[in-house]
Structure formats: structure tokens, C-alpha cells
């Protein structure tokens, strides 16, 4: 056994001793990345020094480490896909990749990975590309610490920041994305994690998520995106400790949930969104310990949702806490803090003695007849709301929190 191990080790050492480092640069052995790529073998490293490299489409089909020193510029001259990675076990780091081509048929990206695994893309700056980082049919890849910006104006004319398609076990960590169509796009991606990213000012969604089961996204910031964040047709998603902020507009939602089941929304902050959470056809979701603050609508729960649990959240300073479009209520509310609650607590157990009906009559009216919003906070409307609160007749009376908290939770 010991003998075998020694052989194995010596073979490994041999193998690695063959790995060489090639240098590319202005006054280095290789002047262009392409010419160096012809000479490399699997396991070699390519050090690229400062400079501007306009080499069209660079295809990497060997297992190498491509490392930039002081952010050498790879320029696609608005014509080419810049880096195409077609090999596994590859590292790309430290580049400034800019001006990729634009084509709607084959979606060129600044860095595109085809059918691969164990590819790491980190510490790059991507500027003004059609798609930023594009992964398709990938496994075990890491996209980390990249700064991705674009200057899209129209949805049709710009791609996504990080686009992942039909992949598994990806790690998207600590990237900053702005100005793309969707900041991060997941379709048919499973068992992956999105962690500590900041996605701001994208034209459509900060995060766009479809048919992607068993994923988590944790501690991300989604701010000021055209339509917020959208999670659709998925089960087993964990959304923890994210911040959804200032997603403003008619069809903009802090978090848009459509056809989601068995998921968990925990410890997120929803601040100043037109609608913080919009739920449609979602079931068996637990919404726990989140903060809803200064939103237009805290939660819009459509009547097509069932068995969702809303527990121990803070609702503070929202125009409407809850709104719905029907009379069917199959969801439960428990132990939330509602700043509009006007009940009392005689037994001093910090739980209000009177149940709270979070659905105001006027929010139902506005849902059916949006222009009525113009009358909000008028005396007539306050009167209607007050009387409805006392005796719910038009709003579903099982829309109720039986254990509303007297004080806000420290979240």
C-alpha cells in the first residue's frame, strides 16, 4: 500500500513538474494569447501581462489557468464573443473583458463556458458586453468576485450579467452586476448557490430564476432593478437574508413568486418597493422573520396561493400591508408585528388580545379598481376602512392574524 502511494505521488510530482507557465505580453515570449494557446498543454498556466489584446474570439480547449496581471484588456471590438471556454478544470482570473459582440442568434458573451465542469471565473472586470458570463451545461463551476457592468437601455438589446442554463452545482459568489437585462439569470440550474452578490440598476430583473430546483440565494442585495426579482416555476428554493430595495414601478416587485412550492423565505429585508412580495400560485412556502418597511404593498397574495405560512415578520410603515384579489384564503398568518394594529394587551404577554385583520377594505378596492388610489387617505376612505376593520363584511374574515405582536421584533 505504502509502495503504491509512493508511486502515485511520484507520478503526480512528475505530472506537475511538466506543467509550465507561459508569459504573454508586450516584451514577453508570446505577443498574443492565441499564439501562446497553441503551445500550452493541459495543466499549464498562461500569464497575461498588461496591454490591450484585440484577438477576436479566443477559444480555450485545454485545461489551463489563464491569469491576467494588472487587468490586461481583452477587447471584442463589438464583433466577437471574447473568451469561449470549452475545456474543464480551467481558471480565468484578473482580466478586463470588454466590448463583446451583439447577436441575438448565438448570444455571444464576454466569457462563455460550454459543456464543462470545474471552471472558475474570478476577479474579472466585465465592461460593456452583450452577455457577461454565460454558463451552459456546466457542473461545479465557480463565478466569484467579478464586476460586471453594461449600459443597456432597452431589454431587447442587452443580455444578462451572469447567465446560467442547464447547469448543476454552481457557486455564484460576491459579484457586482449592473446595467444588464437580468443581473443573474438561472434557468434549469439545480443544487446551486447565489451568495453575497450585489445586483443593481438592471433593466429587467435583479435575479431571474426559472425551473431551478434546490437552489439557495443568501445575503444578496437587489436594488433599483426594473422589475425586482422574479422566482418562477421552481420548488425548494431558500431565500435568506437578502435585501430587496427600491424596486419601483407598476410591474416591479421586490420579490415576484410564481408557481413556487416548498420554499423558505427567511430574514430578508424588503424596503421601499412598490410591492415587496407578489405571490401567484405558490404553495407551502414559509415566510418568516422578514422586515417589510415603507413598501407600497407589503405582500400581494393572490387567491391562487395555498398553505403558505406568514410568521413573525415586521410590517412597518407600508401603505398597504396585505392585498389580495379574491375571497378565498388558504394561508395562515401568525405572530407578526403590524404597525397599524390598534388592539390592546391586557394579560401583558406581548401578544395582542384582539385578532388583527391585515387586509384593509381600500386595498381590495384598489386591487379591483386601481384609479381609486387617488382617493387614498381621504376622509371617506378612512371611514370605510375603519368600519370594515370593526366588522369585516366585504373582505374575507378569515384573513386574520390571531396572535399579532404588540412590539416589533428585533430583526
Amino acid at each position: 500500500m505504502k509502495y503504491k502511494l509512493t508511486i502515485l505521488l511520484s507520478v503526480l510530482v512528475q505530472f506537475y513538474s511538466f506543467a509550465t507557465t507561459y508569459e504573454v505580453g508586450h516584451n514577453k515570449p508570446f505577443k498574443s494569447i492565441k499564439s501562446a494557446l497553441k503551445n500550452v498543454k493541459n495543466g499549464d498556466s498562461l500569464l497575461v501581462y498588461e496591454g490591450v489584446y484585440k484577438e477576436g474570439n479566443i477559444v480555450i480547449n485545454k485545461e489551463i489557468k489563464l491569469i491576467g496581471k494588472n487587468y490586461p484588456v481583452l477587447d471584442g471590438q463589438k464583433k466577437f464573443e471574447i473568451l469561449s471556454v470549452k475545456s474543464a478544470n480551467t481558471l480565468i482570473c484578473g482580466f478586463r473583458v470588454q466590448h463583446s459582440g451583439y447577436a441575438t442568434l448565438d448570444d455571444p458573451g464576454a466569457i462563455k463556458v460550454y459543456d464543462s465542469h470545474n471552471v472558475t471565473i474570478r476577479d474579472n472586470i466585465l465592461d460593456d458586453n452583450f452577455f457577461g458570463i454565460y454558463l451552459q451545461y456546466c457542473r461545479n463551476c465557480i463565478v466569484k468576485n467579478n464586476q460586471i457592468q453594461a449600459y443597456g437601455i432597452e431589454e431587447q438589446q442587452i443580455g444578462n450579467g451572469i447567465h446560467c442554463w442547464k447547469s448543476d452545482s454552481l457557486q455564484i459568489i460576491a459579484n457586482k452586476i449592473s446595467g444588464h437585462r437580468d443581473g443573474i439569470y438561472f434557468e434549469f440550474v439545480t443544487n446551486s448557490i447565489i451568495w453575497r452578490n450585489i445586483s443593481t440598476g438592471n433593466i429587467r430583473y435583479g435575479l431571474h430564476f426559472m425551473f431551478s430546483n434546490n437552489d439557495s440565494y443568501i445575503t444578496n442585495v437587489f436594488k433599483n432593478n426594473g422589475a425586482g426579482v422574479s422566482v418562477m416555476f421552481t420548488k425548494n428554493v431558500k431565500m435568506i437574508n437578502n435585501t430587496f430595495e427600491e424596486n419601483w414601478g407598476d410591474a416591479a416587485y421586490g420579490l415576484f413568486l410564481k408557481e413556487i412550492s416548498d420554499s423558505y423565505i427567511f430574514g430578508n429585508h424588503f424596503i421601499k418597493n412598490t410591492s415587496a412580495i407578489h405571490m401567484e400560485g405558490t404553495s407551502r412556502i414559509k415566510v418568516e422573520r422578514n422586515v417589510f418597511e415603507s413598501n407600497g404593498w407589503g405582500m400581494k397574495i393572490q387567491a391562487s396561493c395555498m398553505d403558505n405560512e406568514v410568521t413573525a415578520n415586521n410590517f412597518i410603515g407600508n401603505t398597504f400591508d396585505i392585498s389580495t384579489n379574491g375571497s378565498l384564503v388558504l394561508n395562515t398568518f401568525n405572530g407578526n408585528y403590524w404597525d397599524k394594529y390598534e388592539g390592546y394587551d391586557l394579560d401583558r404577554n406581548h401578544i395582542g388580545d384582539v385578532p388583527y385583520h391585515p387586509l384593509s377594505l381600500f386595498s381590495v378596492i384598489v386591487e379591483n379598481n386601481p384609479p381609486a388610489m387617488l382617493l387614498f387617505r381621504s376622509f371617506m376612505v378612512s371611514l370605510l376602512d375603519k368600519s370594515e376593520k370593526m366588522i369585516p363584511s366585504l373582505t374575507p374574515d378569515n384573513f386574520v392574524d390571531n396572535t399579532p405582536l404588540m412590539h416589533s421584533l428585533g430583526l
Binding site: 407600497g296 410603515g317 386601481p370 384609479p371 387614498f376 387617505r377 378612512s382
Partner: protein, 255 residues
Amino acid sequence: MNRIGKFIVLDILKNKIILVYTLILAVLSWGVFSLEDNSTKGLLTLLNVVLLTVPLVSVIFSTIYIYNSSEFIELLLSQPIRRSKIWLSLFFGLSISLLLAFLIGAGIPILVYAPLDIGGMMLLVGIFITVVFVAIAFLSSIATRDKAKGIGIAILLWMFFALLFDGLILFMSFQFADYPIEKIMVVVTAFNPIDLARILILLHLDVSAMMGYTGAIFKDFFGNQVGIIAAFTILLLWVAVPFIISLRKFRRKDL
């Protein structure tokens, strides 16, 4: 005009009612701000004060004051003073004293507690609402010689603008829910100074909700410079038109 105006202001200030009005506003404002833990809730209570109490007091006090000073007006008319001058000084005297009451009573706590943008807007709107309803009082008191009838008209007008109008709009919006009525709604609000005032504040208080649906249309209209200027111009018209009509009537009236 100066001397008459000054005399009227002093006369009103000597009147205890205006002092009580100031005191009530002050107690209310300081009270709501110190009772509520966040200033937004206090502002909401004050919004109702500005939209209901301020116009009510302005319109009733002014109407009664004008009726009560009919002998004083007749006395002045026997002097070589132009009629418009008398009417104007009466208007300014009433407006200034009611404004003073509002600014001292509600203005100071608003400035102390509320964020500057919302607070400033609320003060501005309160000022306009006060003056608009003084003008409306002038119109209703010149409409009839009968004091009870005049006060009745004033109260009815207040009731219409503060309560009924919104109910009517709500009703209309349901009747025409199938049509794109957003823009028409914006136009219709111009016919009620209280609604106009409320929307101006709403755009600051409920900014997130106003970004949704039709809110965006209102925000587009009232939120930008042009819209705000338009809204205040309309409020100014609400001061000018009733007053000018009353002035023309007063000039020709056989007293």
C-alpha cells in the same frame, strides 16, 4: 388698505376664538408627534387636521366675521374709500390672522418633528387650504344677506369638498371602471382644492405605492416640476376665482 388691514388683524387677534384655534392646533400637533413613535404616523393624523379642521375653521370663522362686520363695512363705505380696497383689506386681514394661527399652532411642531420635504409640503398645502377657504367664505357670505343662510352655504361647501366629493369620485370610478379614466381622474381632482392638497402630500408620504399602477400616472403628473407648479397654480386659482367673483358682487351690491 394697510391701516384697515392692520385694524382688522388686530381686531381678530383680540378675538379669543383665534387664540383658542391656535392653542388647539398646537396641542394636537405637539401631542400627535410626541405620542407616536414614528413621525409618519403623526403626519397622517395631522394630514386629517389640515384637510378637515383647517378648512372648516377657516370657512366658518370668516363667514361669521364678515357678517358681523357688516356695520363696520357700512361705516367704511360712507368714507371716501374704494369698495375693492375695503373688501381686499378684509380678505387679507382674515387670511393673515388665520395663517398666523396655523403657522404658530401646527407649523412649528411640523418643522420640528417631520422630515423637511413632507413637512414643508404640508405647511405649504395648509397655507393654501386656509386661504382658499377664506375666499370661499367671502363668496358664500356675499351670496346672501341672510346670515344663517350664508353660514349654511359655507358649511355645505366645506362638507361637499371635504366629504361628499370623494364619495362621488369613488362612485364614479366604479361606474366607469372599465374605461381608462386615470387621466380624467387627475383632471377631476383639480375641481376640489382639498383633494389636490391631499394628493400633493400623498406623493410624498406614500411614494412607494404611488409608483404602482395608476399611481405612476399621478406621479408623472404631480411629481415633476411642471405638475407641482400646475397644482399650485390651480390652488391659486381656487383662491383668486371665488374671491374675484365675490369682489365683483360686492362692488355692485346695494348694501
